[in-house]
């Protein structure tokens, strides 16, 4: 098995990292460079389609970043449409890029969320009541949403402009039951944005499985000198007004 494995490993490394130390016979050496080219193009165009604005923002550094990703990151997903998500996780650990391009992560998170909400897997919606009579009710929100805590308004300004106007914002990208994509900016005092973001993430993770009371107890960790229950109810009211709170689990 060793030789078979070794040949494949070398071929793989050559295509991915351009390490040309092939010590096995190939019938057409002249055709060999087409393989790394084809692999690179797959990564390049897939990521460009997902992050067109990011690519423009990074300019020449975009290609360098794609090359680095291809070289350093083992892609684990079978689904090439999830490659942009792996790319985003990779970039989150690249301080050279995130320091040099302050808007980069916000921009990528927003571009990915915009795409992802459209294709998020359909989930079974439980039987829901529209009214809630107690703090023991289990709220169920639109599961096709991605809350984003942004530091720059990348969703309304070009990245270069956004760089000059930092502003903490809580944005929700979501798709409706009619399969249309929308964004909702939550207008809350700056000091409450982080708590609201965590509440939304927690709520989504345990959608329909945590009571109002349990949610408010959780979010108390993020609130200083503020009663968590009214805050939780206020946020859920906002979601209800915008059609993002779908109801309360009946069972």
């Amino acid at each position: 098995m060793a030789s078979f494995k070794k040949v494949q490993q070398q071929f793989h490394d050559y295509c991915r990292k351009r390490i040309n130390s092939l010590d096995f016979h190939v019938s057409r050496k002249d055709a060999l460079p087409h393989y790394p080219r084809l692999v690179y193009n797959i990564f390049y165009y897939n990521l460009l389609n997902a992050y067109p604005i990011t690519a423009t923002y990074l300019g020449e550094e975009w290609e360098t970043l794609v090359t680095l990703f291809l070289k350093k990151h083992d892609c684990h997903t079978h689904f090439i449409w999830l490659l942009p998500q792996e790319f985003l996780s990779f970039v989150e650990d690249q301080p050279y890029y995130t320091d040099k391009f302050p808007v980069l992560l916000d921009l990528m998170r927003w571009e990915w969320a915009s795409l992802y909400v459209q294709i998020m897997q359909d989930v079974e919606i439980p039987s829901l009541a529209q009214e809630c009579n107690s703090l023991e009710a289990f709220p169920f929100v639109n599961p096709y949403q991605q809350p984003l805590l942004l530091h720059y308004p990348v969703f309304r300004l070009s990245p270069f402009e956004a760089e000059r106007h930092p502003q903490k914002t809580l944005l929700i990208a979501y798709r409706t039951e009619e399969l249309k994509s929308h964004y909702l900016q939550l207008h809350l005092p700056q000091e409450l944005l982080l708590a609201a973001y965590h509440l939304l993430k927690h709520l989504l993770y345990h959608n329909g499985k945590l009571s109002l009371l349990a949610l408010s107890q959780y979010i108390a960790l993020y609130l200083q000198n503020k009663d968590p229950l009214p805050f939780t109810l206020q946020l859920l009211n906002v979601l209800a007004e915008k059609g993002l709170l779908w109801g309360f689990r009946k069972d």
């Binding site: 494949q8 991915r16 016979h25 019938s27 079978h78 449409w81």
Partner: protein, 276 residues
Amino acid sequence: MIGIGLRRVLSEAIIHKKGIAPDFIEFAPENWMGIGGYWRKQLKQVVERYPVFCHGLSLSIGSPEPPDKPFLGALKKFLDEVQAVYYSEHLSFSKVQNAHLYELFPIPFTEEAIKHVVKQIRYVQEVLERPLVIENISYYTAVTPEMDEATFLRAILEESDCLLLLDVNNVYVNAFNHGYDPMAFISALPLERVAYIHIAGHEQVEPSLIIDTHGQPVIAAVYELLEETLKLLPKEVPILLERDFNIPPAEVLQGELNVLKAIKDGVFQKSTATIP
């Protein structure tokens, strides 16, 4: 039966038979598994209207490591859900140590590789509880070849008892790139194992090199090779047109489907294709 590969840009036309009316549809499970929303609804409509063939991209049957078990489990569920007539995959590897590269690389044509791949195919067939249909890939260089491609392919098909997705364009591309007679290659295969056929366009990038792009119309020489191939088959089989890039209007693709149908009808005198 003449079919076409499902691309998102074509889905509306295919669902409503606007400008294009194939007999069956093929798609890659990896492009649709786990997808919800609008595209899931589109897929559902396609599945309701057409017989479905699934053509995998990421199984990497030739990788040194065994196929990914959780993926196979999800794949089986998906194939059952879309009632796939066939599930085909490439005789290639596309990942090493579970790092995917999303490109098809040639497996070394060696005895060692045959043993390994046969074992992998048997395992996949057992888990999926259906026959695997293996496609001959296009390749631009052979790697450590101990034998010719036809011998390698034949051994794998027979020893694993799987079916063949005969990609006629790939045979043309390989014959051109590696200087062999395409009909001699096809004649050397166990043609009774052909489940269906792929046809596609390609691009000549150098005087002596063609790349299998699926981005161009099918050329006359490939149509001719298809016709000669059909004459050798013991039975009529479905034919699938692949077009993944530079996708023209549906009517243009229907024109290519019409050519395929005329060729098939010419050979089989309008007999009916069989699918299981």
